[in-house]
Subunit: 437 residues, 2 copies
Amino acid sequence: MTEPAWSMDDVAWQRLAEGADALQVEERTCMPPGFGAASGTAGIKPSGRPDVAIVTVTTPDPASAAGLFTRNLVQAAPVRFSRASLASSGGVARAVVITAGSANAATGPAGDEDEERIAGALAHAVACPIEQVLRASTGLIGTRLPVDRVTTTIRTLVPQRVARDDEAFEAVGATIMTTDTRLKAATTVVDVAAGNGWRSVRVSGVVKGVGMIHPGMATMIAVLLTDAAVSPEVLASLLRPAVSVSFDQLTVDGDTSTNDTVLALASGASGTDEIRPGTADADALGAALAAVCRSLARQQAADGEGATCRITCRVRGAERLADARSVSRAVVGSSLLKAAVHGRDPNWGRVAAAAGAARRTDGSAVSLDPARLRIAICGTPVFAGEPIPFDADAVREAMAAPEVAIDVDLGLGHASADAWGCDLTEDYVRENAEYST
Amino acid sequence: MTEPAWSMDDVAWQRLAEGADALQVEERTCMPPGFGAASGTAGIKPSGRPDVAIVTVTTPDPASAAGLFTRNLVQAAPVRFSRASLASSGGVARAVVITAGSANAATGPAGDEDEERIAGALAHAVACPIEQVLRASTGLIGTRLPVDRVTTTIRTLVPQRVARDDEAFEAVGATIMTTDTRLKAATTVVDVAAGNGWRSVRVSGVVKGVGMIHPGMATMIAVLLTDAAVSPEVLASLLRPAVSVSFDQLTVDGDTSTNDTVLALASGASGTDEIRPGTADADALGAALAAVCRSLARQQAADGEGATCRITCRVRGAERLADARSVSRAVVGSSLLKAAVHGRDPNWGRVAAAAGAARRTDGSAVSLDPARLRIAICGTPVFAGEPIPFDADAVREAMAAPEVAIDVDLGLGHASADAWGCDLTEDYVRENAEYST
């Protein structure tokens, strides 16, 4: 991944993460006013589970829309389609259709034609220009989608859409699951100026993706819905840092997929004033987006393929934010540390080794002085420039929890960041040794 | 890792790799004239196996010596010691002592004092300045070495040294093993000008290290011995590219250790003329060093922790060498591809995804056009801009071999490179979940 080029200073970044964490987030869906959804089965998944989900915008105007996509150079056809849609629509959307079970990646020009037909079917059914349709797909690379069955399903689903129905949005989250073992959803509410008073604005999201997960980003698809009134430009400017402090700090296996997509749609149906850039309301919406994304990222880490626990690495005392971000990612990304956590082994040497091997995204070394380095596992200090004697059995016991906290203090400055991952298990290997067969 | 800053153009790099591969390399040790060795047991390894090895120089002058070390910022005390030795001796060495079972890493100032005592004991026993002693150690991070037992063992070993004895050098290779399951050794011979004729020069090496293995480099220790007559400067200039086309293209688990050390010693005992930089003889010695390092790296990949096979990725058609190197490393480093290979699953989508996610060491994207990308697994073409129908069962069968070849053609230029890794197995996880306990 490349560090964000847009300008936020280290303080603003940390304030965003802290502001997000201060918000109350519930791990459930909420469909904000202005949206409808439906899910069905086109037979893409061999399991016969639902595999086509549509989200449509029910307000007179299309929604503001923003998207972030994989940085993999091998980009799936639906990723190319959604990028092009956002560019030609100027950032508005009327509908989203997501398919699960096949990635439609590395399928050549035929895969692009499939996308046109699928999006065209939805555009026709909801009577909007095709560039107001967004696409995402997840599943096996190199397989085509059963386009006829998908378009038939879409035509069946459009009349079945349910508006303002939390369960319909939850069904979207369930439909896009592949190797996920549980639904991942998050919702928060913030107040935004409306005339002389305030009104609540909802931000709710679902995400799939628990393998091929790595910063920049992952085999993940996230759909974020809000009833905020916000222009496409402001929505995009808020989405980027929200993703940066959430999905970009998540790794399951170090692999970057061909299909990663985060879509945010804002219907404006809350009836608030339009949110202007640089205002307190923009900060509030930004924090809400970040809060939902951070919650989703944490849930993804806990549901990592084969995982038995989430690993959270919090780095403090970094000279600069880029170092805190890199070191925390390096720690949760270390195969050896992940295996040690699986064995509930307080092997802090692997934390030190991973931290020392961290590189900034430009390949340069982070600022790190082993003599100032401090490490704690599950709250117990284990290293402070040299080994600290500690009760290994007590730490082992603490590591049996569903979340293992690794705290690293670089002792050099004031920047901090966190990253999430999961343990590496025999089940991860088994699951991925037998995926396409 | 950072790409080498010394200047060799893409053509010279490829010529080096090709020249190395054209040499005959035997997977055995050969102790060149001018060296002696002995191994013993100080009780560092809980198994009670030999854990202290010494190599000494038997010629009147000390040997030319060059070393390359981990780029991890958390560097073990023996790494710091050897770096300092090479700097203050001007690149000559009289003796090497390697310990196995404890890394002496992250042990604070006490760890550095231990190094002084261990190297001092050997310097005293062979009557040389302490800066002519080199050190390396491997094992658990954060544990101290039993210095008294190590120095006692060294004093016992010095009189037991055997010169020009292949088995004594083989015993060095066996002594430094930790989680390695087999000895890794390589030997080649090249002819070098001597007066009006030619004489044979031997290059032989042993290596340990099958976990925490990643470009830049790994928990590995390699000792290379040659009887070539070569200055420290020329030896160092030949060692860097040799390591670059070998150990730097090897990954087992993406982890960079605190202790990686490659030492090369040249005794000059072959009686050839001194090898001058830029000559055909320098090229020959460089190719021999590269050949030994490439053989050792391949053996390491095959012996990767928990591995059942080696994965070799050969990338051709890259616009530039850096891209070929990055893409080949990304493919063999992909957890998902490694797991798929373990399941003998010809899941080429993971090859495409890994290739597309490859980044140059400065974080920039490689040149890659999915439409021109071609992939073959075990010699069978499976993708050429779009999926190619192939006999999956036949490829699965071919993948049961101890080496799985992944060929990637970027179709953009003439640069090529290879990289080595291994499959990801349940045994890797088990082994590393229970390492320190």
